[in-house]
């Protein structure tokens, strides 16, 4: 287990060395936060209580989305780019003769990265957002803790999905197409474009039942105090259920992949 601790810390520190990239990223997240916050304000002025949020809650949702965007690697930038590349070039060979488990290894990598992005790319945009807009922040420390647990579960789900996508490269040779489809699906079904509570009828129900809702919609609802008590337990169970199911699927796929592995290149 200590190995995976070292891996996690290593990846955290690795991303910490990309100072310029982080600064540029913070700027991008903040700029997008402003654009989306003004768009949402206009929309909610037109349709108050859309999706059950008031204007302040809707704008808070925007900034939460920007704060979590990189951590959940919803638009790429997670470990999967590297894993896909390693499968394509055959560098994956050097991972396979090690006495370490592929899935746990990459989970540790991605969590290290995600924690860095949560701090490095999440905190500042959120603080700027809170400064410029009237955000709905949790009133109690308990809500903050509940939210953070929720985020970690969301990270697990997000990792599990991207691990499956990355492993597809063993069969497709070029995994970037799959990755793009998954980013697109993730953008929409996580609620990054619009809260999933906005969508009516079957579409909304389906969207809310898919694993991606664990990544942003649910943590945002916990943050906004819309899920407490039983509803919070249900949310955790939903996230943990998806995480287990998807990680389990990843494990099966990993066994199949390493069994039929055909490594590329000399």
């Amino acid at each position: 287990m200590r190995l995976y601790g070292v891996v996690m810390v290593g990846w955290f520190r690795r991303y910490a060395t990309y100072r310029m990239a982080t600064a540029a990223g913070v700027f991008t997240n903040t700029a997008f936060g402003f654009i989306m916050a003004y768009t949402y304000t206009a929309l909610w002025d037109e349709r108050p209580q859309l999706g059950g949020y008031d204007v302040s809650q809707a704008v808070t949702y925007v900034w939460l989305g920007q704060a979590l965007l990189m951590a959940c690697a919803l638009m790429g930038g997670g470990f999967e780019d590297e894993l896909i590349e390693r499968i394509r070039t055959g560098d994956i060979a050097t991972d396979l003769y090690r006495p370490a488990d592929l899935q746990l290894w990459w989970l540790a990598c991605d969590l290290g990265r995600a924690f860095f992005h949560l701090v490095g790319r999440g905190v500042i945009p959120m603080a700027i957002g809170a400064f410029a807009f009237d955000l709905t922040l949790p009133g109690s420390a308990l809500t903050w803790i509940a939210f953070l647990v929720c985020v970690v579960l969301g990270l697990l789900v997000s990792f599990a999905i991207r691990f499956l996508v990355a492993l597809s490269a063993f069969w497709l040779m070029d995994g970037s197409g799959m990755a793009q489809i998954s980013w697109l699906a993730g953008m929409f079904f996580s609620g990054m474009l619009l809260p999933l509570t906005v969508f009516p009828g079957t579409l909304g129900e389906v969207a809310r039942a898919l694993p991606w809702s664990s990544v942003l919609q649910i943590p945002a609802d916990v943050f906004l105090g819309k899920r407490t008590g039983w509803a919070l337990a249900e949310a955790y169970a939903f996230q943990a259920g998806w995480a287990l199911a998807l990680l389990g699927a990843g494990r099966l796929l990993q066994t199949a992949a390493t069994r039929r592995v055909v490594l590329q290149g000399g």
Binding site: L3, V6, T94
Partner: protein, 320 residues
């Protein structure tokens, strides 16, 4: 002698699909390794050479367990690598010259800390091994440097150290000196020689630089098209390859090609002539015969070029 690595009729066939026309895909097979049998004893240091695409890397991948043989029997330390990859992993060290296992963006020492945990190396042992590698591979000033800032030779030395911290019983090296300068090569070779001598680590070395083999390995295996072409002492390759030594003669003046029983003249350039004779034969009688009949100013002897011998061997066999 205890056989540490054992291959018996090992095969690896790759299915490759090729575009044949707009939509049609043709399936064909590449026999990368084709009925390979050999054994390597514990503590041996063996050179494993062959032309590009001969199947060397494929063999090494099977020996580490990351490729499953299509046929035959393969054992390393009594373990079937493909079946018990993770168990074997603690006992082997691998360096693929063209790939790195080091953490690209982090200081070199972070990668070593990772190895420490990955192989569960006892603290004391880890410190000793690291100290030794740092000293012998001259890594002292590099430990704090991010790997991406290392030169190729520095990185390679870093990779070799990373493969050895857990005291592997066998070390597979796939082109460990590729792209290194003379000094780095010498360092790596000295290190490997010591490793094999002091610790008795079994070493299987793949390379295109025959000097590596000449300086390190008493035994060499040559493969081509996945088949073993030669297995024995390096010197024996000369006989197999019917190699020749060359006497370079500087005459007083330009003369027609020298005619002499013991050798044949292969090249004339002004007053300088090149005479080839079998490697198994002494140069002394040739020199005295020459000196008696020609106005010789100077002489130099060129040993058979092992490179040329092997090139000849590759060319001769691949036509089959």
């Amino acid at each position: 002698m205890e056989a540490f690595i054992e291959l018996d009729g090992v095969e690896k066939v790759f299915d490759v699909r090729r575009r044949a026309g707009l939509l049609r895909r043709e399936k064909s097979q590449v026999r990368a390794v084709d009925g390979l049998s050999f054994t390597v004893a514990r503590g041996e240091m063996v050179g494993y050479i062959g032309p590009n695409g001969a199947g060397k890397s494929t063999t090494i991948k099977m020996l580490t367990g990351i490729l499953t043989p299509s046929g035959g029997r393969l054992r390393v330390a009594g373990i079937d690598p493909a079946r018990e990859r993770t168990r074997l992993a603690r006992r082997i060290g691998v360096v693929f010259g063209q790939r790195t296992t080091l953490w690209w963006d982090l200081p070199l020492k972070d990668s070593y800390r990772l190895m420490h945990r990955m192989y569960r190396i006892p603290d004391q042992r880890f410190r000793e091994n690291l100290e030794r590698c740092v000293e012998l591979l001259d890594l002292g000033e590099l430990l704090e440097v991010p790997v991406r800032q290392l030169s190729l030779g520095q990185r390679m030395r870093g990779d070799i150290a990373a493969a050895l911290l857990h005291d592997p019983e066998v070390l597979y090296l796939d082109e460990p000196t590729i792209g290194l300068d003379v000094i780095s090569k010498a360092k790596v070779r000295d290190f490997l020689r010591d490793l094999n001598a002091d610790r008795g680590t079994t070493v299987l070395l793949t390379t295109h630089d025959l000097t590596d083999i000449e300086q390190l390995c008493r035994r060499v295996m040559v493969i081509d098209h996945g088949r073993l072409m030669y297995d024995g002492a390096l010197a024996g390759l000369h006989e197999v390859g019917e190699s020749e030594r060359t006497l370079i003669v500087d005459l007083e003046r330009e003369l027609p090609p020298v005619v002499i029983d013991l050798a044949r003249t292969v090249r004339v350039e002004g007053p300088r002539q090149w005479l080839a004779f079998p490697a198994s034969q002494s140069a002394a009688p040739l020199v005295s015969a020459l000196a008696a009949r020609y106005p010789v100013m100077d002489l130099s002897l060129r040993e058979p070029d092992i490179e040329a011998v092997i090139a000849k061997m590759y060319a001769g066999r691949s036509g089959q």
